[in-house]
Assembly symmetry: C3
């Protein structure tokens, strides 16, 4: 974990210069920002134009300690993504984590435990929305995966156009839902099958595999594994390669390839929400969540 | 073949201790078994609780000489599988062969040659049923493939959750139907595509490839190749890994991944039977079968 | 390019002996051929029975300089393919190029630039027809890819049953449409996904990858890479392997695997033509084509 902790000062340093960049430097006046800085960010989602690459934003997830995808965090992510999509100055996003050692721990169990059905439904709709927005984004989306990335964190990674994983044996990635006694929804499964093929997905999903970097690369759940201090620079190089392609042709082609998978959810989005609510409301599942959350508390305590 | 023959005494030895295990030792009274032994077995299907692993049954196919899937043998397999599914003491099955050198030679041509349409239809329904039952089994099903596994024998292997193949160059596995002038039905094709991908399946199916162990592993038609005397122990280790996952989550996930493939047959099961009967009843096909069966007779004679 | 140029005299030599083969040598009288030679060929499509293999035709594309798939060339290809399909003496075709260094440059932009919608529609229908005829051919179709093979040239390659690529680093293959600012139609995408899998296709299509031989082999967009002077002989050896399978079983199996992909186009063929015409008629696309064609002119001039 030393390497990760070591990175934090660097991260801060990267943030500071950006904070001083005037909005005008990006070709238009700063809007809704008191100190004249153009800022899409929110408390949990730091968005900065890449100082070295025109048209690229770096989006840092900062929902400590583990970037759990709470409803509030999801909402902030969605707002930031929408703003970036609508801002013509941006053509690509690098998604990365500001929480040392963790890309994202995935869905927030507290949004599902002891909540009423309406809340669970609202939560699930936001989870769907995040996937649809990232998976079908018109922007090039590169995942700079600088930490462990289980379950929903893995889904977020899989929704990017390209995945660069830091070569730290602790940084495993996978859809490990079965280990918690729950199951991934069909569209998590579809995205995994698209990425690593049917057989590898069948096995990984049932066994709840969390792939360490070398296995992750071999099975194809990530595209590249690099030393931890090269994750961001590699993501930038890859971004340059993707941005060399005319946007319109790339976007239509991305849509051609990904739309059929997204459509499977879009055609039954409400039913999928109902399914989730029904599943999560079961006594047996609530009990499993209780046991699991108690364990987490004891760990912390 | 020496290795295989050498294994037989061991197999017998494994059977004998089981024969002495009283049903009560499994936590409930023996039922329908004269000597107090719990026994799902039938003349051709030996079912024994794994002496070393709680909840695991070993199912040995013994329909000499080549474990041809005759209607009678299929029926016994189906009954054993159903009993195991309904018996709460079992969570996994290891399927293996008691016939040296042969896992299963596949469908029994004698059930298709010179038979009336009603018989062929009944036979095909049983073949479908075996696939559906193994492919969608709630139990973990591991194939301990200790012999050659062509055509229907390969389908049975592909329907398991995991395949361990003995590293003997004679133990080839594949859907070699075209070599006999017949064609695999669409659901054999679907399962092969799911396992090794579209392109490899396209080529293997047309050329009737029988993959020897090293090629089988490389193309992914089996998951693991081990020395012949380690097939059973490896299957047991793998089983332990699968049984570490909560059953309910694993079963739902398996269903999530496999149901769409099974549904393609379920939605047109009768049409598939009619197709088979029509195809097999053609004069040209009956002639091909005749030629092939005559060749087999001469070999034996 | 030295190697390729060096090959031309050889190619001519191969053609000359064929020109002297009397039709009667193929077991039936020559028809519609002034000098008694059986000849399916046309000015741009040379078809010759393989002198060394019964039942095999070699089809050489000769539409210099780059085998652009013009409407006229497509029409000749289609007529030749239809004749071969209907001629019981042939069981397989080897498709190769007679233009040094280029297998086929793909679609002819001059058939799309400055043309009226009716012409574009007619052209697109011919492109569809070529794909359907090669992809679903009852004959074994082997691609002896002796040159670069971008875009439509790659599609033609992907539609073969097997691809042998000459090991020359200049001979790249891929669907590079996005580089020109256009997009591959869905059925190009489907065939690429079938061949190299969903993830590799997603990336290659968006980035317009042209794979040099070693990468092409690794990703699986070709089946074999051999020294340039062994492409034809390797294609012949592979053909022998495919012809060892009974035709009827192989054809039905090919249809089983490929028909669902072809059906996706067949079910919406007119809509696909309208889509193409609408897309290509856009001012922005016409302008892109203009720019590109002007560049090509300058290169030549």
């Amino acid at each position: 974990m030393a390497l990760t902790v070591g990175l934090r000062p660097l991260t801060r340093a990267l943030l500071r210069p950006w904070a001083r960049v005037p909005g005008a430097a990006l070709g238009r006046p700063a809007a809704g920002s008191g100190d004249g800085v153009r800022c899409f960010g929110s408390p949990r989602v730091l968005v900065e134009p890449d100082p070295a690459a025109v048209g690229v934003a770096v989006m840092k997830m900062r929902n400590p300690p583990v970037n759990s995808l709470s409803l509030e965090f999801l909402t902030e992510l969605l707002i930031s993504l929408e703003k970036l999509e609508n801002d013509k100055t941006f053509r690509g996003i690098i998604i990365t984590s500001d929480c040392p050692g963790i890309f994202s721990a995935g869905l927030d169990l507290l949004e599902m435990y002891g909540r009423d059905p309406a809340h669970c439904a609202e939560y699930w709709k936001a989870v769907q929305e995040l996937w649809l927005r990232v998976y079908l984004s018109n922007l090039v989306v590169i995942g700079a995966i600088n930490g462990i990335s289980p379950a929903g964190g893995c889904l977020l990674s899989l929704s990017c156009d390209y995945r660069v994983l830091a070569n730290n044996p602790k940084y495993a990635i996978g859809l490990n839902e079965t280990l918690l006694g729950i199951i991934a929804p069909f569209w998590f499964k579809d995205v995994l099958v698209n990425t690593i093929g049917h057989r590898a997905a069948e096995r990984a999903l049932q066994l709840g595999f969390l792939f360490p970097p070398s296995d992750a690369l071999q099975v194809g759940i990530v595209d590249q594994v690099v030393p931890e201090d090269q994750v961001q620079s590699t993501a930038r190089s890859v971004m340059a390669q993707w941005l060399a392609i005319p946007d319109h042709a790339r976007q239509l082609t991305k849509n051609l390839v990904r739309k059929p998978t997204a459509d499977r959810l879009l055609q039954q989005r409400d039913a999928d929400i109902q399914n989730f609510v029904r599943f999560i409301s079961r006594d047996s599942i609530q009990k499993s969540l209780h046991v699991y959350l108690e364990k987490l508390k004891q760990k912390k305590g």
